[in-house]
């Protein structure tokens, strides 16, 4: 481990510890907001693996979040499955979908990749609507009271309790960050960055670029599904909205705002945007206007994002 690596590792530990400690002082409203932000940030952290480290811009990442939402939510709603197995099923659904879709979409690149991922996400969205009697379609299903409590060390944990929400959300974010950080720092992560910079050359050097891209795609899909499963169980709601195009654009927006290709960027971007959208939706029903305005301003004025700017100005060692 070089000094640079050590510094980066300490920064991540400090951020995670800070978030864990924050719950002691947050008032109830912000307590729930930060819990939501952490789950959604995990979604964006996974997306950043594709966009930031592999150079693949997907417009269909919502399908994996939705796979987690339905994979975990439906068994709870219909079979009264416990939290642990439900989460595992959610992640499994996302990984399986990502393995299949990845094998297909990674045969394309550039504009075609973008449109194909969007079309596949649309298939998932429409399928959720088509099976309306089971999935609840647009209306969705409310899981409140259906998730049996988990007993751990003599404690009874329910998803309705704010402390459980916060700490599970923290766990999901920590897992997503550690997996990404581990992958990015590994030789496979170096290969991904090489693919981003010049795929042809990387292939000439003897790397199986398809396999590396597939690995990144499946990991990102799995992380998205983990976030989706946690979101469904913690906030007791399953619905087709999570597969809609807006939920494919959100991780793109969060990642760009926070900083493409920085491990902490997605967390920063999700935090800022979730609060901005919350404030805007209190003012007007046209609150998605800020989503559009931020996207345009970012691409014109701050293409590196917040953490990208920090890395350039102050902390060049930022991973």
């Amino acid at each position: 481990m070089t000094a640079r690596d050590r510094r980066a590792a300490w920064l991540h530990v400090a951020v995670l510890a800070g978030l864990l400690a924050l719950q002691a002082v947050l008032p109830p409203f912000h307590h729930t907001m930060v819990a939501r932000i952490m789950v959604l940030a995990a979604f964006a952290v996974g997306y950043n693996l594709l966009l930031g480290y592999t150079g693949l811009m997907s417009l269909g990442h919502a399908m994996f979040f939705a796979a987690g939402v339905y994979g975990a939510g439906l068994p709870v709603y219909y079979a009264g499955l416990g939290a642990g197995p439900a989460m595992a099923l959610g992640v499994l659904a996302g990984v399986a979908l990502a393995a299949l879709v990845g094998a297909l979409v990674l045969r394309t690149s550039g504009v075609a990749f973008l449109i194909v991922t969007m079309m596949f996400a649309q298939v998932v969205f429409l399928t959720a609507l088509y099976f309306n009697p089971i999935t609840g379609g647009d209306q969705g299903l409310v899981l409140t009271g259906r998730l049996p409590p988990v007993h751990l060390f003599g404690l009874e944990l329910t998803a309705a309790s704010p402390a459980v929400k916060y700490n599970v959300a923290w766990g999901v974010l920590a897992a997503a960050l550690l997996v990404t950080l581990g992958l990015v720092r590994s030789p496979a992560g170096r290969a991904l960055v090489a693919i981003r910079e010049n795929e042809e050359r990387t292939r000439m050097l003897g790397y199986n670029t398809f396999a590396y891209k597939w690995l990144a795609f499946v990991t990102a899909g799995g992380i998205a599904a983990l976030a989706g499963a946690a979101y469904a169980l913690l906030f007791s709601y399953v619905g087709a909205t999570f597969a809609s195009i807006l939920y494919s654009i959100y991780p793109l927006l969060w990642t760009l705002l926070g900083g493409v290709g920085t491990t902490l960027g997605p967390l920063v971007g999700t935090g800022i945007m979730t609060y901005v959208v919350d404030v805007a939706s209190g003012i007007t029903t046209s609150y998605l206007l800020v989503v559009g305005a931020v996207l345009v301003l970012l691409i014109m004025r701050l293409p590196a994002g917040v953490m990208g700017g920090v890395r350039r100005r102050w902390w060049p060692w930022l991973p």
Partner: protein, 288 residues
């Protein structure tokens, strides 16, 4: 006799929606072909065309004037977007995609703010029925089909016979060489972007008496145009045209006999698989 009547109705509906889709998709295809950018906000120009047509026909009491005013207004908006957003980022492919996603939400939400979440109809400017052996058919829909076909023909002439068309084709083939021969490529880009938006806006305005104007109507237009452009081969105008008609007809027939959602699922999956298998599309020779 009933079944053949159904089929005839389905084909007729398909032809009308196919021609409208052809106008919409041609705009997207033109922008992609000449400028090499994907305009994700394209569907919003369709929606703007419809909403502005509603506004003018309510204010002026004449749908004919609205049909002229809507594309002009949308063309002006497109020129402004090109000048203020796309030109500063130099039409870089990925940045343009992000910027046009932003533009999509800006336009859509501004319309929601000003026009509201309503679906508003406009009375058809002409009202007559064409009697077929099995059923009477709305004469306005046939007018829409004829107008769409005429506009497609006019666009074809514009591209193949005029100086602007020549500039467009030259820029599409090689922007650097075109610039070296004195083609003002930046102005060609602006003109192509505005022309693409205007074609789509006319399509949006034409369907208002049939479908009503709503602030969320752009997404379907965008997805269907994407399908037409992909199946027709990225950047090939002729392919886009053929694919739009094909999609319209197939969609018309399938929707009569099956659930429209199921039809959309199958269509989206097929389009995705076409693009995976042949990135040039079914007709084109691979422009990506």
């Amino acid at each position: 006799m009933i079944a053949s009547g159904h089929l005839f109705l389905a084909l007729l509906e398909g032809l009308v929606s196919g021609l409208v889709l052809a106008l919409t998709a041609l705009g997207l295809s033109l922008v992609f072909g000449v400028m090499r950018i994907v305009n994700v906000a394209h569907g919003e120009f369709f929606m703007l065309g419809a909403v502005i047509a509603w506004f003018f026909s309510a204010a002026l009491g004449s749908f004919g004037l609205a049909l002229l005013a809507a594309p002009l207004a949308v063309g002006a908006i497109a020129l402004a977007a090109d000048r203020l957003i796309l030109r500063p980022i130099r039409y870089a492919p990925e940045a343009t995609i992000v910027a046009t996603i932003g533009l999509l939400y800006i336009l859509q939400q501004l319309v929601l703010m000003v026009y509201g979440p309503y679906a508003r109809p406009v009375d058809a400017p002409v009202y007559f029925r064409v009697e077929f052996p099995w059923f009477g058919y709305s004469g306005y829909k046939l007018v829409v089909a004829i107008l769409a076909a005429l506009l497609l023909g006019a666009t074809w002439l514009l591209i193949s016979r005029t100086r602007l068309g020549l500039y467009m084709r030259a820029t599409q083939q090689d922007p650097d060489v075109a610039r070296a021969f004195g083609v003002p490529t930046e102005r060609v880009y602006a003109a192509s972007f505005a022309l693409g938006a205007m074609l789509t806006a006319v399509a949006g305005a034409l369907v208002v008496p049939i479908q009503q104007a709503h602030y969320l109507m752009g997404l379907d237009a965008l997805l269907l145009s994407f399908m037409a452009v992909i199946i027709g081969g990225l950047g090939s105008l002729r392919g886009t045209l053929a694919a739009a008609l094909l999609i319209g007809l197939v969609d018309g027939v399938v929707s009569v006999f099956f659930s429209p959602t199921l039809a959309k699922i199958v269509a989206s999956a097929l389009v995705a698989l076409v693009l995976v298998g042949r990135s040039g599309g079914l007709f084109g020779e691979g422009a990506t």
